[in-house]
């Protein structure tokens, strides 16, 4: 489960961010986060056009067990959301790194990406959490 893709950056709260070629940032939650939450039954998505500051709640993922905020790794404007999650939130359980992306943000301060955890840092965080 710790096959963490090398092109992602992370928040300590288990969100991932991927810088796309067009400068936008795709956001999701990690494989570890989905496995901790268990079966997802509802995702509250942001609206396209919302402005969100880095570290603020942008979405909510709810499993049978718990609701969890999804924080935005960077500041900016939401340019698209994964509508498929409205009807099939379990996509995140099946493919947290890929099809389970949650929203795309157009960053207003791209330098914020440099402050995020690298895949190695994130792997170490998970390692420490396990002990």
């Amino acid at each position: 489960m710790n096959d963490i893709p090398g092109d992602l950056k992370f928040l300590k709260s288990h969100e991932w961010a991927r810088l796309e070629d067009n400068g936008n940032v795709t956001v999701g939650i990690s494989e570890h986060a989905q496995s901790q939450l268990g079966d997802l039954v509802y995702v509250e998505l942001p609206a396209v056009g919302d402005h969100i500051d880095a570290g603020n709640g942008a979405a909510v993922v709810e499993s049978v067990k718990a609701a969890s905020d999804v924080y935005s790794p960077v500041s900016g404007t939401v340019v698209s959301v994964n509508e498929a999650l409205s009807d099939t939130p379990e996509i995140i359980n099946g493919d947290a790194w890929g099809e389970g992306w949650i929203f795309v943000i157009k960053p207003s301060q791209p330098a914020e990406l440099d402050e995020l955890l690298s895949p190695d840092d994130y792997a170490e965080l998970l390692e420490n959490e396990a002990h």
């Binding site: 268990g38 079966d39 039954v41 509802y42 509250e44 909510v60 709810e62 049978v64 067990k65 609701a67 409205s86 359980n93």
Partner: protein, 360 residues
């Protein structure tokens, strides 16, 4: 220090996600909690419930004692093996715990109480038992496995001796018996048919493995919670506690107020019943997307209330809950992160024998 049941390493070997559950290290799920839920509704699943507390009560006056201790009427139990669900109340009528009592013989009744309330329950029972000459024996030598689902009884019976097989399949609902060195009762906490089985700890792992081999899949406490909520069953600590009367927790059906002899909490209950209670417990269904959760505020036409047990219902594909609300309330909305979502009050159970109930 968290406690472990004898099946702890068995759960881990099956890949269970373990969590602290009232001081016990227990499996919350083994994979998909929703799959485990459906497994129980459609076929057969099993739960390790060895954390629950089994207490044997013995003495010549044990029936008389239980008449005083319990809010339900122990005299409903007339034949050996028959079980009764009851609240145990304090003098103010608040719920100390809910429990199952089995009538074994006139000198011997068996109680199953919650794990989270073990210490205070045993103190309370012991304090009142001494005056009746009744002795308590906690049965930590038992593990307990609940096998539940439409095919549960057949699967269990197939593992028993010829004589045991016949005896187990003959058990009526809410009746238990000593069979093949185990205590097998046709009870449960899922709204499905099945057995709850007390098995000597030394035999528990082998019995669990035989159930697995017979096609009974393990289910965690996560599925147990959604199953019991769909079945309209209360959870102690969440739906009622010592500050709540059974009348305010949808448990009036468990009370027998008009009987001879005193019982603990009776005076307070009679006063409350005469005055009329101001709060009641309702079942709620939310047709919008989202999940009702414990602690969310309920807004009504008669004042505010709160969600008690709330969850996603895998059988219904939407969220259901119990809520404590003003008794006069008829229209409800729930505050979910600042959004007021309409919900419908419905009769519970929400699901019975695998099917949604009418009006849900």
């Amino acid at each position: 220090m968290t406690q472990q049941t004898v099946l702890n390493s068995t759960h881990r070997a099956l890949g269970a996600r373990m969590v602290d559950f009232g001081g016990w290290d227990m499996p919350i799920n083994y994979g998909s909690q929703i799959d485990e839920h459906h497994q129980v509704r459609r076929d057969a699943g099993m739960f390790d419930v060895s954390h629950m507390t089994v207490v044997d009560l013995r003495g010549a006056r044990v029936r008389e004692f239980l008449r005083y201790l319990l809010a339900n009427n122990i005299d409903k139990l007339k034949t050996s093996g028959k079980a009764l669900y009851s609240c145990m109340l304090n003098e103010q009528g608040g719920v100390i715990d809910d429990l199952i009592v089995y009538f074994i013989n006139e000198n011997f009744f068996r109680l199953v109480v919650n794990a989270s309330t073990r210490d205070k329950d045993l103190d309370w029972i012991a304090r009142h038992a001494s005056g009746f000459g009744v002795t308590l024996q906690e049965r930590r030598d038992f593990a307990m496995i609940a096998v539940q689902g439409p095919n549960a009884r057949q699967r269990v019976a197939g593992l028993l001796s010829e004589q045991g097989n016949a005896a187990a399949l003959k058990l009526g609902k809410f009746v238990g018996a000593e069979i093949d060195g185990m205590f097998i009762a046709r009870t449960g906490y899922t709204g499905e048919d099945g057995f709850e089985i007390m098995v000597p700890e030394t035999d528990a792992i082998a019995f669990w493995q035989r159930l697995l081999a017979a096609g009974v899949k393990p289910a965690g406490l996560g599925a147990r919670d959604t199953l019991r909520l769909e079945a309209g069953m209360n959870l102690y600590g969440q739906d009622m506690d010592e500050s709540v009367l059974p009348l305010e927790a949808g448990l009036a059906w468990t009370l027998v107020l008009d009987r001879d002899g005193d019982f603990l909490g009776r005076t307070a209950l009679q006063q409350a019943a005469a005055a009329g209670v101001t709060r009641s417990m309702v079942g709620l269904v939310m047709d919008d997307k989202g999940v009702l959760r414990h602690g969310q505020k309920v807004l009504s036409d008669a004042g505010d209330g709160e969600i008690l047990s709330g969850s996603f219902s895998p059988t219904l594909g939407k969220s259901i809950a119990f809520a404590r609300v003003p008794a006069a309330a008829t229209q409800f909305r729930v505050d979910i992160r600042g959004r007021e979502v309409p919900v419908r009050a419905v009769k519970f159970p929400f699901v019975r024998d695998g099917q949604p109930c009418a009006g849900i």
